[in-house]
Structure formats: structure tokens, C-alpha cells
């Protein structure tokens, strides 16, 4: 049975009166890759925080199929099948890379043996096997990001939400990451939501784009269409181009 879709319906988030998100709706289906883009401060990370229960909603709801998951604790939402990574990597620094990845599988009820096998397989896929016994703190920035994604996957999520997974990676690392991420929807049947500022990565990876500015949706649709949308060029690509 295919997983139900993840639906964000008319979600609002407020920080002391300031509307960080204002009536944003988004659907993420199993097997697709959606890019969430927008200028700095447009509410992208807040969107992921809202979906995973890290910030309370001022309005709207998050649905997994027919089940409302907004209002649940982050832990319950994680157990419902939403995994995420962070803009600033949060590894368990004094644990080995293998233990880091294993911990997520264990938290989802795997036995120690199954969790270890799963972690080893994931580390293999991410090319991290040689670092399995190193401490989290000792890794390079790019490696830390990959461990974090591997850890998120160890929970066998139905939906994976990645917050700037390629930040701080060099070109070769980004390329390798792109290759891995592109294969995930097919190999694992999961839906992938990805925030990144690397437009070439986003354009090559994503089926659909969702563009935020000032906490509101300003465009959504196929990557090519969105790229030609004047509002997007104005708000996002325009400002990028102006800076460059």
C-alpha cells in the first residue's frame, strides 16, 4: 500500500505577533521531490519546523492522509514517519558515526542487530563506511551533513525534510549528494522536501517547486514554469542575481 500524502493546509506560525508563515498550503506525495525555496527569512525553515512539530501553529493543520499530525509532539510526529535534517547539523558528537545512525533505527523500535545492519547499509550508500567508528565531532562539514541524512533515513521515514543539505559542501560532494537524493524516492518510496540555496541543485533535483516570500506562497508548480514566473524572479532569483 502506498503511503498517504503529507498535506500542509493553510498553516500559520507567529513569533510574538510577527507572522512567519501566513496561510501556506503544500502537498508532498510519496515518490516526489519538492523544492522549497525563497529569499532569506521567507519562512522555509519555519515551514519544516511547523511540519515536524517544533513550533506551534497559530492556524491551519498538517495532515498525514486523513490523520491530523499537527499538535502532536515532535517525537510522535517522528514516529508517524517524518524525518528531518537541520540547517545547522545536530549530530551526537561524542558517539561514533555508526552509533549516530543506529540510534534513529533503535528509536523506531528496531532490534540492536537490525539497527546495526541498517546503519551499515546506509553508511555504505553514503560512502561513509570508512568513517563508521570515528566520532561525530571529528568529521568534516560535508560528512556531518551526510551522516545526518543517513540518520534521518535510518528511521525509514515516509517523508524526509532536508534543510539545506548541500550547505558547506564542495562541488564534488554536492554532486554525489544529488545522485543519492535523486534515487531516494524510487528506492524507498518516500516523499522528499528540500530547502536549498543552490539553484542548480534544486532545478536538477526537484519535480516541483514551492516558492515562499514573507511567509506567503508566491508561486508553485513545475520547476521550469516557476523559474519563468515574474514574481519569483523579482523576489528570489532577482535578488540573487542582484547580489551576484
Amino acid at each position: 500500500m502506498p503511503n498517504p500524502s503529507l498535506k500542509v493546509v493553510d498553516v500559520a506560525v507567529e513569533f510574538s505577533g510577527l507572522r512567519a508563515l501566513n496561510g501556506v498550503s503544500l502537498t508532498l506525495s510519496p515518490g516526489e521531490i519538492v523544492g522549497l525555496i525563497g529569499p532569506n527569512g521567507s519562512g522555509k525553515t519555519t515551514m519544516i519546523n511547523a511540519m515536524t512539530g517544533q513550533v506551534p501553529l497559530a492556524g491551519g493543520q498538517v495532515m498525514l492522509g486523513d490523520k491530523q499530525i499537527s499538535g502532536l509532539t515532535p517525537r510522535k510526529i517522528a514516529l508517524e514517519g517524518l524525518s528531518r535534517s537541520f540547517q545547522i547539523v545536530r549530530l551526537f558528537n561524542n558517539m561514533t558515526v555508526l552509533d549516530n545512525v543506529e540510534s534513529a533505527a533503535l528509536a523506531h523500535g528496531c532490534s540492536l542487530r537490525v539497527a546495526r545492519e541498517k546503519a551499515q547499509t546506509l553508511l555504505g550508500e553514503f560512502g561513509l563506511s570508512p568513517r563508521a567508528d570515528d566520532l561525530g565531532a571529528s568529521l568534516s562539514y560535508g560528512d556531518k551533513r551526510r551522516v545526518e541524512i543517513a540518520r534521518a533515513l535510518a528511521a525509514d521515514p515516509a517523508f524526509l525534510l532536508l534543510d539545506e543539505p548541500a550547505a558547506g559542501m564542495n562541488e564534488a560532494e554536492t554532486e554525489a549528494l544529488l545522485h543519492i537524493l535523486a534515487g531516494l524516492p524510487k528506492s524507498r518510496g518516500l516523499g522528499l522536501l528540500i530547502i536549498d540555496h543552490d539553484m542548480s541543485l534544486i532545478m536538477r533535483l526537484c519535480d516541483r517547486l514551492h516558492v515562499l516570500a514573507f511567509g506567503k506562497t508566491i508561486a508553485e508548480g513545475k520547476a521550469d514554469e516557476v523559474r519563468r514566473n515574474p514574481a519569483v524572479i523579482e523576489a528570489y532569483l532577482g535578488s540573487e542575481a542582484a547580489r551576484a
Partner: protein, 296 residues
């Protein structure tokens, strides 16, 4: 040679006890970043339980097991009474509730049992001595060393090779992240308190075995020892607590051997001066854990 062996046995037995005390304190601190000031009372509870079941005629090991069990139950109870209701609110609140719970337990012992020392049943082995290579030493020192080796070994295995251990280490490094991955926070915290109670119970019996009696304030010194050992060893790591325990025992034992009779009364002043020097040199303790030490 004889002297060296004597010294070694003294350091290892005292250090083993100190290390277990410190470990029991730091296992909770590691996860919550909060010091359980009612920790000494777990030792007191073990002592009074031993006293209360003393007349029952049960085999001593059964009585000791009941005492350890009571320390574990009290440990978990501490979590429910002093920590869980205020845990999310503020560090100060938990500081006060854990002190309050400590005072409450001590005063309950004063009121319902007695301010006077009470004898606890101890097996004959605790008062016997043996001779090893010309050194006469109490058997209980060897029991303490053996208990420390076994418990530290089991503990290391538990933390490295079991589901609970991995979850506890994850929670100790980044509590919020662990919860986000789906680690059940309350269960992990209760387990930490239970392990804390187990260590306190066992070390409590060994500690009380040195004097043979229990008083309401019996836990004050172990709490202080555990606290100092974790501070000099490094509060962020379990290994630091063990190292700190043995180092503190090394300092105490060395002072016992070298100070003159008049100065020996002031041994703790010397110990604490050295502790201050160590902390001036390494303010974060000897072992720096990579964890941030902040509440997460």
C-alpha cells in the same frame, strides 16, 4: 614493595567506591544537565532498609538486594517528585526541589527512625582481614574493588552495546535531537535515575560496611565526594567521573599516608586545596567531553 601493594589496594578500594558514587551522580547529570542533590539520600535509604530488614532472618544477600532495590525505587521516585514536575521550567527550580527532597528524606529518617546511629547487619566477611603478599587488608576492601570492576564493566557494556545505552548516550549528547528522532525521553530519564539508584545502593552498602552503622546524614559525604569527583574529572563524560573518583581517592590516600597525626584532622582542607588547583589548571575538568554541557 609491601608498602606499594598496601597503597595500591587502598587507592583502588577507595577509588572504586568514589568512582561508583560519581558515576551514579553523572548518569543523571549527563542527560538532564541537572545535579540531583538528593543523591546522598539514596545511600541513606539503602542503609536504613538494611537496618529495617536486619531482624528478618533472611540471608544477608537477600537483605542487601532489598536495600539496593529500595535505593532504585527511591531514585525513580526522585525523578517523579523533584524533577519531572519542574524539569522544563528552570534550573533553579530543580535545584531547590532536589534539595527539598533531600531534606525531606533526611528529616523523615530523623523523625521516624532516630538521630542516633543504627546498626546494620553485615556479613562476617566485612570485618575480616586477609594477608596478601605480606599485606594485611580488610576483606571489604577487596569486595569493594571487585564490585567496582564488575559494575564498571557491566556499565561500560550497557552504555556501548545495548539499545538503552545508545539511547541514553544520544539523550546525554543532545536531548532535544534524541527526542526528535523518537527516543522516549521520560523512559530514558527514569532509567537513568534507576541506574543512579542501583549504583548508590550498592556503593551505599559498601560505604556503610566501613562503619557498620547508618545515620540520617550518611549520604552527605558521598554526595560531596561524587560531586567533587565529577567536577575534577569533567562533568560531561562518564569516563571523567570514574577518573575523578580514582584521582580523588589517590589524593586522599596519599594524604592519609603522609600527613602527620595533628594535620590529618585537616585532611579535607588539603584535598580541597588540591581540587581548587586542579580546577584552576583545567576549569572544565580533566576529560573534556565533546558535548556542549548546555541543556538541549
Amino acid at each position: 614493595m609491601t608498602f606499594a601493594l598496601q597503597f595500591l589496594i587502598d587507592v583502588l578500594s577507595l577509588g572504586g567506591a568514589y568512582a561508583l558514587m560519581a558515576l551514579g551522580l553523572v548518569i543523571v547529570y549527563g542527560i538532564l544537565k541537572l545535579v540531583n542533590f538528593a543523591y546522598g539520600e539514596l545511600i541513606m535509604v539503602a542503609g536504613y532498609t538494611l537496618f529495617l530488614v536486619g531482624g528478618s532472618g533472611l540471608p544477608w544477600l537477600v537483605m542487601a538486594a532489598v536495600a539496593v532495590l529500595m535505593a532504585i525505587v527511591t531514585g525513580i521516585f526522585t525523578d517523579y517528585v523533584a524533577f519531572r514536575p519542574v524539569r522544563a521550567k528552570s534550573v533553579t527550580a530543580v535545584l531547590i526541589t532536589s534539595f527539598a527532597f533531600s531534606t525531606l528524606l533526611q528529616n523523615a529518617a530523623l523523625l521516624f527512625i532516630s538521630p542516633r546511629p543504627r546498626n546494620v547487619p553485615l556479613p562476617a566477611a566485612f570485618s575480616q582481614t586477609v594477608e596478601i603478599a605480606g599485606v594485611i587488608t580488610p576483606v571489604r576492601n577487596l569486595i569493594t574493588i571487585a564490585a567496582a570492576v564488575v559494575l564498571l564493566g557491566v556499565f561500560a557494556f550497557l552504555m556501548r552495546r545495548t539499545v538503552l545505552g545508545i539511547a541514553m548516550r544520544a539523550a546525554a549528547t543532545n536531548f532535544t535531537m534524541a527526542r526528535m528522532l523518537g527516543v522516549p525521553a521520560n523512559l530514558i530519564i527514569s532509567s537513568a535515575f534507576a541506574i543512579s539508584g542501583l549504583l548508590a545502593g550498592i556503593v551505599g552498602i559498601l560505604w556503610i560496611g566501613r562503619i557498620g552503622t547508618v545515620v540520617p546524614g550518611i549520604g552527605n559525604e558521598p554526595l560531596l565526594v561524587a560531586f567533587i569527583a565529577t567536577v575534577i574529572g569533567g562533568m560531561r563524560s562518564l569516563g571523567g567521573a570514574v577518573l575523578g573518583g580514582f584521582l580523588l581517592a589517590f589524593i586522599d590516600t596519599t594524604l592519609n599516608y603522609t600527613l602527620s597525626q595533628e594535620l590529618l584532622k585537616f585532611r579535607d582542607a588539603f584535598t580541597f586545596s588540591l581540587v581548587i588547583l586542579i580546577l584552576l589548571w583545567r576549569p572544565e575538568g580533566l576529560l573534556k567531553g565533546p558535548a556542549t554541557g548546555q541543556r538541549t
